[in-house]
Structures are given as C-alpha cells and as structure tokens.
Amino acid sequence: MIDNITYDRSVQGHRRVERRLAARVRAVAEAYALLAPSLVGFLLFLVAPIFGVAALSLFDWNLMGAPSFVGLDNYRELAADPEVWRAVLNTIYYVVLNIPAQTVLALLLALALNRRIRGGKVLRVVFVLPWMAMPVALGIIWSWVFDPRYGVVNQALGMVGIDGPNWLTDPAWAMPVIASVNVWQYTGYTMLILLAGLQAIPHTLYEAAAIDGTTPMQRFFMITLPLLRPSLFFVLVTNTIGSFQIFDTVFVMTQGGPGGATDVLNFHIYQQGFQLFRSGYASALAMVLFALILLVTAAQFLYFRKRTVYDFS
C-alpha cells in the first residue's frame, strides 16, 4: 500500500522512490484495467438498478406516459394489500413444503452414500442429474405428469383404485405439486454438499465412540449431526433464499392460480410490473423482497462469521 512506502530524502533514494512509485502506479492501473469490464457491468447493471428500483418505488408509472411522484404511497398500499400478504404467505408455504422435505431426503441419501457401497460415484452423478434441468421444461413435464386424466400420477393411483385429484387446478394441491418440482431438482444437489460435509468428519471419532460402546443412533446424534451443522446450515440458508425466488415453474404451470393459490412474491411482482404495468408498485414490492432476503442473509453471515474468518490480505 502507498503508506507503506518509506520516504528517503537522499537524491538516489528519491529516484528509487520515484521508480517504485511509478511501478506502483502502473500496478494499480493494471489492476483497474483488469477490473474495468466487470466494474462496468457491476456499476451499470447491478448497482445502478438497485438505486433505480428504490427511486422507482416512489413513483406511479406505467412505463409509457410520464411518471408521477407519489412518495410512500406504494408502500402504504402494499402494507394494506391482502394480495401482498397472500403472496408472502404463499412464498413461506412454498419454502416450508420445500426445504424440510428436500433437506431430510438429501441427508438420508448422503448418509447412505457415505458408506462404502458399490457404484457410489455413478449414483452421485445420477442424483445430481435433476439439478441442471431447465425449470421451464420441468414445468411442462410436471403439468403432464400431474394431468388429472393423462398424467402418470393419476394413472398409477388409478391402478390401486385411488381417484387422484385435479392436481394443478385444485388450490389445495397446486402448491405441493410445484414444490415437488423443486424437491426433485435440488435434493441431489443438497445431498452432494452434505456428503462433502460428512466426508470431512474424521473417522477416528466414530472408531473411538464405537469402542466406548455407543449405538449407531447415538453416534449419529452425538457426532454426525453436530459436526455436520455448518454444512446443514449452509444448505438450509442458501436453499431458503433460492426458494424465496421461485418464479419459472409458477409462470409455466399455474400463473399464480388457481384462485391465487400459487401467487408467490416473485410472480406477484412480475405481474404488477409487466402484466399490469404498475412499475412503481412492483418496485416497492421488490424492495420488500430485497429487505426480506437481506435479513436472511445477514442472519447467515452472523452465524458464519463465528466460524469462518474471511481473509482479504
């Protein structure tokens, strides 16, 4: 750093300092040259829009005519809008359907794969295969799988004498079906992260515990679970934040229906912004979502700071 440079009063020293300064300036210039493209993208397409959305949330504007300043009206409206609360609850419902199921399944799979078993490597790849699928395509496939008449699920249920519901047009079932897409897609992914965490637990711990005559169940609760906590916490937090942003499958499968049963926050913001063209109101909603995610992330950071020291030297 600049202040680290020691000043030398002799002429020779002066030259040396000049040379070092020149080298230093060049190095800084080089650094910024390397950084320039990403900085342009960062400032123009991330930072500016964040300030932009905050500003827009104070206006009423359909993006065509002239915007009109309305102060905090949008925020007042959204606080009293039952549909916003419905969207928040729907989003939370989605997360609740999603995260526990996905995490428990992933943990069970990870525990199974953590044993010495044949084909473990292949199985790992197979389980991650859903992760890369396009949510839009999955929405199409799931709409078919859960088609009341022509879908696999009801056909299979029919074979055992059960009359399956009209999944996607039934408000009670639409959200679970949409959540099942995400569970299917991310269980393998979560499993991999947990498996890595499991493999980092030293074997000697288990061996010592076994000598002490503990049962496998006791070992799981006394060794595995506590030592897996960082990994578990990581997947819980990141998957929760990810789930908060559910959009694609809702857009393709239900458009927020039936009767608003799958109208989640992201879809609601999209609908206000680009179907009803209330861009100011949509921006205010986006600010609320932003604040929610900020809260979750802050919680995550505080938790992790205890354990991980970020190194910026």
């Binding site: 390397l34 993208g41 397409f45 069970l108 295969l129 890369m132 929405g139 799931w142 986006a286």
Partner: protein, 269 residues
Amino acid sequence: MKRIALYLALFAGAVVSVAPYLMTLNSAFKEPAQVLTTPAWEPAFPVTLENFAQVWSQYDMAGFLLHSLVYAGAVTAGQVVFSTMAAYAFGRMSFPGRDVLFWGYLATMMVPQIVTLVPLFLIMREFGLIDTYLGLILPTAFGTPYGIFLVRQYFRTIPRDLESAARIDGAGTLTVLVRVLLPLSRPILATLATITFITTWNTLLWPLIVTNGDATRVVTLGISALKGQHSSQYHLILAAAALALLPLIVIFLLFQRHIVRSIALTGLK
C-alpha cells in the same frame, strides 16, 4: 438384509431422479394418440419422429435453440474471460479500494434478479437494446460476482512462488495470468463455464422482459409459449421440452466430474 434395503432405497432414488427425463423422452417418440392413451412408462411403439418434426417445422424450434446457444455461449465467454481478469485483480493484486469493491461485489450476490428487473429494462430501453442479443447478454456478460468469487478463491490456492518466479523472469501481469495461472486453473474455469452455460440456458425471467420478438426468442420463452398455446397437446410440448433439455444433458455428461466436485465444494468454504 440391511444392505439390501440400503441398495433398494438408493436404487429407488436413482429411478426417481431419471424417471421424468426418461418418460418425457419416451413419450416424445410416441404417436400423438398414444401419448394420451398409453401410460408414460410403456415403451414407445411404434417409434415416431413425427412430434419432433412437427415442433421443428411448425414452430421455430431450431431458431429457439440457436438463439439460446448464442445467448448462453456469449454470456459464458464473457463470464469466463472477465471473471478471470477481475478475480486476478482481487486475488493477486493490491490496489486502493480493493476490499471495499470486493465486499460490494459479494454484497450484490444475494440481490434477487426480480429486484433489478424494471430499472434494467429501462436502462436497456435508453440504450435502444430491447429485443436485441446485446440487451439479453450484457447484464451478465461482464462477469457476475459469483463467478469472480469462485475464480478468486481458486487463484488463492495457487502458490505465489510460481508467479514470483515468472515475474523475476520479466513476465508482465498479463503474461503471468495467461501463462502461469490459467493453465493451473482449467478445472475451475471449466466448472464456471459449465455452470454459467447451464444457468443462462435455463433463464426465463430476463429474456421474458427484454426480448419479445421472434428474432431473439430463446428456448425457455419458445417452449413456455408453446405450452400456452397447446396446453393439452402433450405430444408436441413434450417433444419441445425434450429438445430444450437435450443440450444440457450432453454438457452435463461431458463435464459431470467438475460439476459434482464444484457443488461438493460450495458447502466447504
């Protein structure tokens, strides 16, 4: 006995993981009437390419795939090049404002896409880039904070000695980056490229807003529109979905080693 139960459970999980893909592919090869009348698990017989031919000829499926390829390809190229450059600056160089900037980058990692949507749309409108490839590509082509973070972390695991040796030999920054660091960073760059390509290929929201014409319609928009038009003509929309998923499966199988490793690493920061 326990062992058998374990294998059975894992096998069931594996079946569930691949079943939607297989059923989709299977049904896409069935005759239209059979898609509705036969169960999804019944093998396609006779096998027909008619559904693919129909989505290919009546809808611009080739165009959708090409537009997505350009979009995802360009974003991936930009991401790899610019993230590497920025990662080198952040990870290996010291300059005033570095830490503040890096924290700024990290902080924006959690900003949901929908938050910046309207302002981003307005920026593109001012640039006259609505309905263009550039409008599609630019927001993510300069390297995302995620990509920069990923590469920077990797750079920091490479011993500095290698770099110093090259410096003593008179190599400049760019030479060091290209000759010394890049060859050692292939795995992480392959991972970044694969993940970026897959993510971009799958993106719906930004293309939905910034492109509305046919000239740049990407495959996510193409097949979701097809679903809107033919919600119950499953033979068509399943064939289209299969075509949209196919490139991903190929890429995944090519790079599966990197993907599996990189996912495993994300939890162990």
